[in-house]
């Protein structure tokens, strides 16, 4: 069985741990330079405000005290994410981060009642240790686990934990209840095409003939259909939900403490990630870099750091992504550890064609944008024609000040001595 742990309104929850007065209030987190809303609390969603709303449209509501807007604080979110992952690792040896706020967790060898109990405990412990509320979905396949997570979040009776087995009446009823758009791997255009064939719910898709699905749609959708039946056929690296996050990571092949080698690996991951980004016509708002020592070598000192860095503007430019990744690596790398694995995650992706967003963020002149797009296009073409790595960038050494000034920036409570949260004694 595999579980998906998803942090509720993650960015807002991170802020609320250190500012309890924000609990229960409508809170939004803004993109770089306070351009638009990129994360919302449930209370803010209930006001009808959506992702991507320009911040200036909400300023009158902020002034009247109806809602609170904060500048994004990726350093805090990255550290809280690492803490959530560390708690999960106490429960299972198989934890795979899927995005900054979602992690897959392997649960093997549990009886049915044990499993529910175990998942409940995990749900409770993450909240207690880190202050971050999560939902847990457990099922035989990743697709069903994601679905169970969705149910745990939407249906209060589950109290945040939903364990589904394939073929039960419960699973069937839930699959019939949720529309396809709620399912992972099924985009909006696909939903319309499937509706023509009378496939509207998860249950319809699970019942459809997989061969026919493959012929008329794709292997990917066939896999989704099979996974809904409880037949596991998607491995961690095979699936990705387009337009959510891009992860490139691999083990170094041997344990290494050589910064040069590690920098080269991170550079490759960063460049590969940027190519994937351009391939799906997205822009990233932030870059997360992580390193890992080998947890199965308790004789060696352990250090598994990660750091999320916000990009100056949403971008698909390899140079900016490598610059951010190089800066993050510089901050987290420490001598004296044997690293086993490293990677780059591109997070908070948006569609490249949503120009108004990049205009609202940091202004980049049209000429500059076109030059950058042209350069990246030529590079991708050369690399696809003459082999990956024909044209590549070196990792630039980190420049000066990274962060832009943001009006509502909260403190980096957990990663800077001079920004610790205040506790009053009175």
């Amino acid at each position: 069985m595999i579980g998906l742990v998803d942090c509720n309104s993650f960015y807002v929850s991170c802020e609320r741990v250190f500012q309890p007065r924000l609990r229960g209030l409508p809170v939004g987190v803004m993109s770089n330079n306070d351009g638009c809303v990129i994360a919302l609390s449930t209370e803010l969603k209930a006001m009808g405000i959506t992702m991507g709303t320009p911040a200036f449209e909400l300023q009158h509501l902020v002034r009247q005290g109806h809602l609170h807007l904060l500048s994004s604080n990726y350093e805090l979110y990255g550290d809280m994410s690492a803490r959530v992952q560390a708690v999960l690792e106490e429960f299972s040896p198989g934890v795979e981060p899927y995005s900054i706020d979602e992690m897959f967790v392997r649960f093997d060898g549990f009886s049915e009642t044990q499993l529910l109990e175990h998942a409940r405990q995990l749900h409770h412990k993450v909240r207690q240790y880190t202050g971050i509320p999560v939902c847990v979905g457990v099922a035989p396949t990743r697709t069903l686990a994601k679905f169970a997570n969705r149910a745990a979040k939407k249906i209060p009776a589950y109290r945040g934990v939903c364990v589904l087995k394939s073929g039960t009446a419960e699973t069937r009823a839930l699959l019939q209840r949720f529309e396809l758009g709620d399912l992972w791997g099924v985009g909006r255009r696909l939903v319309e095409r499937l509706a023509v064939l009378g496939i509207r719910t998860g249950w319809d898709l699970a019942q459809a003939d997989p061969k026919r699905i493959r012929q008329q749609f794709s292997v990917t959708l066939e896999r989704t259909a099979l996974e809904l039946r409880g037949i596991s056929c998607i491995e961690m690296n095979d699936f990705h939900e387009p337009r959510q996050r891009i992860m490139t990571s691999r083990s170094f092949g041997k344990l290494t403490n050589n910064l040069g080698e590690i920098r080269e690996a991170i550079r490759q991951h960063g460049q590969r990630g940027a190519e994937k980004l351009r391939g799906q016509a997205s822009l990233a708002r932030a870059v997360l870099v992580f390193l890992k020592t080998n947890p199965f070598r308790p004789d060696l000192p352990q250090y598994s750091p990660s750091l999320a860095v916000e990009l100056p503007r949403p971008t698909d430019d390899s140079r900016e992504i490598l610059h951010a990744a190089g800066y993050a690596l510089q901050r987290i790398y420490r001598e004296g550890y044997q690293y086993q694995k490293g990677g780059v995650m591109l997070i908070d992706l948006i569609d490249a064609d949503r120009q108004q967003l990049s205009l609202l963020d940091t202004p980049q002149s049209d000429a500059e944008r076109q030059r950058s797009a042209k350069l990246m296009g030529v590079m991708d073409a050369l690399n696809s024609r003459m082999g990956r790595g024909t044209v590549k960038f070196g990792t630039p050494s980190p420049g000066a000040a990274w962060h832009l000034r943001c009006a509502n920036l909260t403190k980096r409570y957990t990663t800077r001595w001079e920004e610790l949260p205040a506790v009053t004694a009175r």
Binding site: Q128, P298, D299
Partner: protein
């Protein structure tokens, strides 16, 4: 008179850890012959190992205000707070009171729970509703001197 006991030499080459993640010095779980190097282990001391029992649940907080002075917590001190510990009466805890994070002593009087401060000017707060919740348990106070 105060007597001091020498515990050991501090680790001169201790790596600087940006986060409260301790060096794992333990060899738990390994069986077989003890390594000859084991005799030399533990001669360096790491404060993380001593004060940070659960890195994922440990947070550092900076104290403002003077109400806890009588209990040894002063303005400007750093608290090492562990959220993995369940609060018990008698402990110094961090709590959320009216949306604010405050440090208090957790007490039980006549089977009722209270948060009290070290200063009699502040009345104990009954720990009953959701407006008042435990945030974490204080494991240590770091009080730095000018040198």
């Amino acid at each position: 008179m105060v007597s001091l006991q020498i515990l050991g030499r501090a680790d001169e080459a201790a790596p600087s850890l940006p986060l409260p993640y301790p060096l794992s010095l333990g060899r738990a779980g390994l069986s077989g012959f003890p390594s000859p190097a084991q005799d030399y282990e533990g001669r360096t001391l790491d404060l993380n190992e001593r004060f940070v029992k659960k890195p994922s649940a440990t947070f550092f907080l900076a104290v403002t205000g003077d109400s806890m002075g009588p209990l040894g917590i002063h303005e400007g001190d750093t608290l090492v707070v562990d959220r993995s510990v369940d609060a018990r009466p008698g402990q110094i805890i961090v709590a959320m009171v009216d949306g604010e994070i405050t440090v208090k002593r957790y007490e039980r009087i006549d089977d009722k729970h209270y948060l009290s401060s070290g200063n009699p000017r502040y009345a104990p707060i009954p720990l009953v509703d959701t407006e008042c919740q435990v945030w974490g348990v204080v494991r240590a106070v770091i009080h730095e001197f000018m040198v």
